[in-house]
Symmetry: C2
Amino acid sequence: MPERGERPGEFGMIARYLRPLADDPGAFGLTDDAALLRPEPGFDLVLTKDMVAAGVHFFPDDPPESIARKALRVNLSDLAAKGAAPIGYLLGLALPADWTEDWMAAFSAGLAEDQQRYGIPLLGGDTVKSPDGLMLSVTALGQVPAGGIVRRAGASAGDVIVVSGTIGDAALGLRLRLGTLDGSAAGEGAAHLLDRYLHPQPRLGLAEAVRRFATASLDISDGLIGDLSHVTRTSGVSALVEAERIPLSDAARALMAADPTVLASVLTGGDDYEILTTMPADRFADYEAAAARAGISVARIGRIVEGEGAPTVIDAAGEEITLGRASHDHF
Amino acid sequence: MPERGERPGEFGMIARYLRPLADDPGAFGLTDDAALLRPEPGFDLVLTKDMVAAGVHFFPDDPPESIARKALRVNLSDLAAKGAAPIGYLLGLALPADWTEDWMAAFSAGLAEDQQRYGIPLLGGDTVKSPDGLMLSVTALGQVPAGGIVRRAGASAGDVIVVSGTIGDAALGLRLRLGTLDGSAAGEGAAHLLDRYLHPQPRLGLAEAVRRFATASLDISDGLIGDLSHVTRTSGVSALVEAERIPLSDAARALMAADPTVLASVLTGGDDYEILTTMPADRFADYEAAAARAGISVARIGRIVEGEGAPTVIDAAGEEITLGRASHDHF
């Protein structure tokens, strides 16, 4: 095994930084070709895989802990949206040649904290040399009681459209980061927006309520209207969204008052990782109460209607708002 | 969704090239955030994830069908080594900005053929923009009867060491490709070596026999001696390998006669994806017969001994062969 200076090679790096994360017996201490999972009888497995690349999904100079968290959390968010509880994950790590031990120590510490926070062990994975920048590929496994998965398809005309948390913060944080938006109107709230971009909050606390009450569900990663379109297209329906009902943070509200382009970012920007669900209107109160018990706010923003076109967004006066493009494009 | 010239965007590309590969009901036609797998009662799941990157694990100008096959097969090889039957896979695809429809059509055709050949459906995954070269991350899922996984740990002193197929071909093929070896002594056999590098053969036909007879097992991806070291280290034993017993292709044998550096490539080169197993000597005949029924040759190359050091390799005269380094380094 070649050593570069003081730095450990592949197996030394895995032993030092990743093996401590893999204390599940099925991980075999990362010393085998594969991991073992004995499924719990009566449950279905839910499998999701999101890749993130430096310069595309995060900035190469983001804190390593934050990169680690984002890679894991965007996958946990998918599990939450499907109503699933996390079981474990596999980590694919393509490291550029100039990785340092300090970077790996911080990166693995970020994973360790989130594993603890969300109750998900590292089961296995692969570490390779990246010819260029850092790339991470996480496969997360979750479980739902058999038949319990909540799909994108399932919304019916008349259902209300519900989102968790506040919408648009991450897209505004990214614009602040890129310098394409003046954040002065938000004052100290700008830090909140930057943090929302850097640290998605997977809404695992909503998973059970999603299973109990939602007819369709996904997480908002590509943008509110773009993701809502995924629900309407797969469900064979359309949607009407009332813009003034979309829950905003104080910081986003302050920026919107100062700059009318903020509304477009709220409607079409990505990376919120909030949960969009649909459900019959008479279930909303119970969903809201269950969400509140998990410390998560939810809000009705519109309703599913018959039809096949893209969702319609109306302003407070009932006038349709025209969108330049429906979603953020990570591709 | 932005369109670049005539080329489809992300969702169009997925619909055109990847959705046809995802006919398993749990894949939801690649229209959901996650895939669903209902585990078969009485089986354990075996999970493996191997990433491959252009310029590291394959050449950027390799045929797209071959890149697709390699990415999938290196994972299937891990399942075979563990005694597992394939269930499905998730594909992470980081595409450089200059991908073409011709490339994607050939790439997806390669996947389609191998899905058919090995009986493994595409369940889900993620497609992202690569800031640089192509990178693929496959997570493969397999199953073994509960408790049936065969680990690296498990070899005991006295066990014989057995390998499938022939060893070193892929490493020699890579050297021919890189121009660091004169292939003229192999004549037309050089094409065989190049093909062995480009198209690993996952030994899924051996999986059941591995489960029935092997005490330890892995696939040879890092090199014969390096991978044998993984077995001996995790099993707390050492090993003695008789070099002249290592099965060679006619092409490798011809090259070895012409160039003595070929032996080192055979012993330490990577990418063979043959199966190395250990077992009590009295099981070998049954293992060999089961392998023959699957059309796969197997050979005894040495034995497990007590001790803790690296494996010892001896030549026909019983003299120890000194190795410069034990394994090929993909990292």
